[in-house]
Amino acid sequence: MRLAGLALGRGAVIAFGLMGILVLTLAAFRLPIGDSLRLITQGAFGSEVGIARTLVKSTPLMLAGLGIVVAWRAGMFNIGGEGQFVLGALTGATLFRLAPHVPPVVLNPLILVASVLGGAVYAGLAGWLQVRRGVSVVISTILLNFIAIQMLDWAVAGPLQQAKGQLPMTERLPEAAMLLRFNRQTDLHSGVILAWIAAGLVFVFLYLTRRGFQLRLVGENPSAARVAGLAVGARQVGAMALSGGLCGLAGGVEYTALAGQLGTGFAQQWGFLAIPVALLGGLHPLGVIPSATIFGALFAGSENLARFTPTGSTLVYVIQAAAVLGYLLLNELRERRAKLAEGAA
């Protein structure tokens, strides 16, 4: 109960804070605040289509955000969600290229599994580099992002390019191999549910299993984890792999749910945006659900706004940046207050 109350209080603070930031951002862009807010709300929640868009936009954020949570909880600052997202989708597309005639019912789950594996290996590599070679995972994952994007650009114009047509695009998946859509009018797909389930599973893993407990211990104090008999390095690599797997799954879902093909524009920065999503979610798997949803709504809403104003989704990025800075400020203040209280005691 108390926990729920606490989360609610915290949620309220964050919601109000975001609202304030949104208003300030609109003002900074010299947009009429009332009208803009109405357009955003309409776009995000105003109709069935709006709600669907919000959920669809929140899905990659949620899955990749969960990935970030897992890695950061283990003390591995994975900045490579983007690369893992791209590589996940790319692995899935490669699978389709190599085995195009697999029955569609099997193909979809296979592609998703492949994207998990692709992301996991890619992030695990960065983890291994840190544990064995002392290369900071922050640096390596940032660089691996660039490599992944280059690989995408090369693959869709090279080995994975569709047989007919000139565009740098992969072959389109057959409709039956795509994730289930609930109706024709909206993009709402079963990946949305997958993301929610993933959030629940990550929560169970981190807080209700031995492995998850050990992972958090490794993140909080690797030295104590070692003394408690854990192989810290192996756990860190494992956490990175799990993190990359989730980011890769985000890529796989995006690939098999919406376009069904990859192009150079496939990387939409979801992997980067997942970091602020995870931070605002308090680095907690259940916190990621509202946090990803809020940002999904902002994307959906600002798309609507963009139809009437020239700002477009720039707004979302500005708001997100401001929100993260505000969040860090809030944390800093809270820590200072805690320290003051400690000093007084």
Partner: protein, 483 residues
Amino acid sequence: MATPVFTAHQISKAFGPVHALSEVTVALYPGEVHAVLGENGAGKSTLMNILSGFLRPDAGELRLHDHPVQFSSSAAARHRGVEMVHQHFMLVPEFRVEENLALGQLDRLTTSLNVETRAAQAVRIAQDLGWQVDPRARTGDLSVGQQQRIEILKALASDAEILILDEPTAVLGPDEVEDLFRVIRALAQRGKSIVLIAHKLREVLAIADRVTVLRRGKWVAEAMADDVNATQLAEWMVGEVPPLHEPSRAVTTEPRLVVQDLTVRGDRGETSVQSVSFTLHCGEILGFGGVDGNGQVELAEALMGLRPVASGELTWPGRTTLPRRAYIPQDRHEDGLALHMSILDNLLIGGQADPALAWGPFLRPWRIQAWAQRLVEQFQIRIGKISDPVSSLSGGNQQKVVVSRALNLTPDVLVVVNPTRGLDLRAAYTVHECLRASAEAGVAIALFSTDRDELAELAHRSLFMAGGEFQEDLNSALTGGVA
């Protein structure tokens, strides 16, 4: 008699309930090498930190050239010619030697940073002392002994009149110690006054003109080095040695752990424990004494299986499987606790595999909650809520968390390192009672402690470690067999 250049007069300093120094007086005369001796916890480092301006005394005064001074910081002390050479070097490993040397002059930087000219004086001094110093070398590539030279040169280059060396020989090999002593003597001849912290008596007698001995924060004796011998100094350091308890309770003769010719390497690959052998019996508390850093932690970790055995072996008589081992590590903040995690989580460390608390890979939160509450009550850990971060507890209660979870594992063997360091008397007493009770219940306990009283009180017998080997008793551990 000459007047002292630098005097610490009736200095007292307390950290919370712990009196690190009470009314200690030390006088440093010009051109003299003055050694401050004492066991761990005697207050040597606190005294040095006060002399060099890192700490301010609660009471008493510092007098420089017979004028009272107050150092607001170590920079202020440096301005007045008092320089400290730390045991842990304050060098930037990525910098070149000359850059580190120039760093010592930073507070006098005004316009430009011309590294070469600023380092020039230090390089001259080095040549003068017969040290080869390559100002272009990357500092991190130098050996520890060479880095120490840079640190000393840094101090000398700022015209320090008084040099404070904190355990300068701790990191050096025998040849390097010889060379360092040569330089210390040369400096003293040039009129510098040198304070030296040490606990190796042989070295102190070799280098010091005058010796002050501290014991538990109190001044015990001062003497000219020529007038005393190692035995006398050891007695001063240790005080009246209470005879170690004969095993008051019947200790079984059933061996639980036999260690044979065990050699263990430290973090840097050096030999930390040198082919030691002993037997640990059921229900026995076997003490391991000696000064910090003589292989205790490495041996403890090897017993726990946390550190690979380089050679030799551990055998567990009469067992086919490994016994249950529990560990109370030396530094609870570093190795024992995850401070941001809850009290509950911290109690759970090491215990997650307990079938009563876990179901396959899953934890059983309600059972864990109840179990943790029981543990808290049983060990009388004073907490707010069990979900509070463990950092909210006092040091004593934090230690109780570590102790209770170790004992809760119902270990066959318990390895304990300095379990009461930093605790007040009451908390220390509770911890001691816990250890005693588990020994009586048949647990074999290896107790590593630098606190001799603790060993005297708890251990059925004790071994003393020096340089990774066992010495017969504390005095030979201190004197390195010279007495």
